[in-house]
Amino acid sequence: MFFYGFMQRAFQASFIIALIAPVLGLFLILRRQSLMADTLSHVSLAGVALGLLINVNPTVTTLLVVVAAAILLEYLRSLYKSYSEISIAMLMSGGMALALVLMGLGAGSSTVSIQQYLFGSIVTISSQQVALLAVLGVMILALYVLFRKPLYVLTFDEETAFTAGLPIKWMSIAFNVVTGVAIAVIMPIAGALLVSSILVLPAAIAMRLSKRFDLVIIVGMVIGLIGMFSGLAVSYEVGTPPGATIALIFILIFMLITAWKKARMLMKRKKNASLADH
């Protein structure tokens, strides 16, 4: 399968996504915004529909719409501080509704293209998309290395971060915008419906394996690589949709690790009980 150019590009794209997903995913989880990726991918569909409607490159309209939504999300989050998921629910349904209305205005001619964005297609990825992903990957990893300490404190507690002199509002907006840009770039590859699982699941699994903050991201990258590569290989051999196969493999890894941790805990308890008996 490595002889085919489309598979080579698919593996290259997967490699980059696997490296950036846990960085964004971990902060999304800890900021209780796991569903933000889902929201922004729904909103990005509105960007695609808008691009198709007004005959502008959908990548450009998607980027603009997603960045606007990412800023709006932070505003809504500040309105409902204790219930930040409200902002997510509002924008998710709003984005989807806008996409459907714009598609309706497009008189059905763009249905096929919209379907491509809904489900994604990692095997039809172009070399330009890989290049764009590479730029995004370098940008996100550089931002993480540079800002990991402020981000750690911001994620631990926003008020502590504020009193330590960090510009928390701007940092939150910048984080949302970077996530939005990442989603706009990854969405045509992974699909609007599955992009959040690819972003969030590797970090969620890694959180169960490591107790150190910096290690969680590295473990998440390893899990991302295993899930993405094996998902691609399985989908090639069996003929299943790549995005969905990758998401299912992540869920399988999560179940295996949870079962292993549970079994280890039970064995430990049993050992302690038998020691106490003697």
Binding site: L30, V153, F156, E159, T163, K211, R212, F213
Partner: protein, 238 residues
């Protein structure tokens, strides 16, 4: 100079006044306690001082510089800090180290001196042996202690503490007050602390600000007990 300067501050929740005519200062080397019955808007007052809430009228200012004319470092412990995110994937050591970041280390490696500071802070609260534990696996009391270790690791010029001794036994509480007193007296730190612990603290605090509800004010509105403020040597000083 004043580290904290609050002048004629009032704060409203929507249209309802909850704080009125609050005026006080906290100077370098002063240990000031803030008390009041439950719901007396003590935390609200702290949050106004910190800039997390905006006063309706009046001002609350924190000095941007310390007594050495350098950037003032602020250490804040919010109420119920022990309830922080149970799943936060971080070790005790990572969390306490993060207290040093605001000492000019956001974009620099921690120095040997920073690491020594962290070690001393963890040892001072008896948590050095637990440094590799995940913070989410600690008990409420242990989380409280690492929050204190984090703030001591920062070594701030001004401490703003919201009921930091909740859940501590009386001997740990006294040791903590002792440490604060030492910081204010010897190292000229400013301290503003919300507490319910009126009796134990008497021997340590320099000044006592009490929020009370005056007879003619709305049921939720509190102001200062002027008998104990702004006197520099009130009944609670030792």
């Amino acid at each position: 100079m004043h580290y904290i300067e609050v002048e004629d501050l009032s704060f409203h929740y929507e249209d309802e006044p909850v704080l009125q005519n609050i005026t006080f200062t906290v100077d370098p080397g002063e240990f000031v306690i803030l008390t009041g019955e439950n719901g007396a808007a003590k935390s609200t007052l702290l949050r106004n001082v910190l800039g997390l809430l905006k006063p309706a009228t009046g001002t609350a200012k924190i000095s941007p510089i310390n007594i050495d004319q350098e950037k003032l470092a602020l250490g804040y412990i919010p109420q119920q800090v022990a309830s922080f995110n149970a799943g936060f994937p971080s070790t005790v050591l990572e969390l306490v180290r993060s207290g040093r970041y605001q000492r000019g280390k956001w974009f620099k490696r921690l120095s040997k001196e920073d690491h020594e500071h962290v070690e001393r802070s963890l040892k001072a609260v008896g948590m050095w042996d637990m440094r590799h534990k995940k913070v989410g696996d600690l008990s409420g009391g242990q989380k409280q202690r690492i929050s204190l270790a984090r703030i001591f690791a920062t070594d701030p010029d001004l401490f703003i503490l919201d009921e930091p001794t909740t859940g501590m036994d009386s001997s740990s509480r006294r040791a903590f007050y002792e440490l604060l007193k030492h910081n204010s007296e010897v190292h000229k730190k400013g301290i503003l602390m919300v507490t319910h612990d009126h009796e134990d603290i008497k021997a340590y605090a320099d000044r006592h600000i009490q929020l009370i509800r005056k007879e003619n004010s709305p049921w939720r509105c509190f102001s200062m007990d002027s008998c104990k403020e702004p006197s520099k040597h009130p009944s609670l000083s030792h």
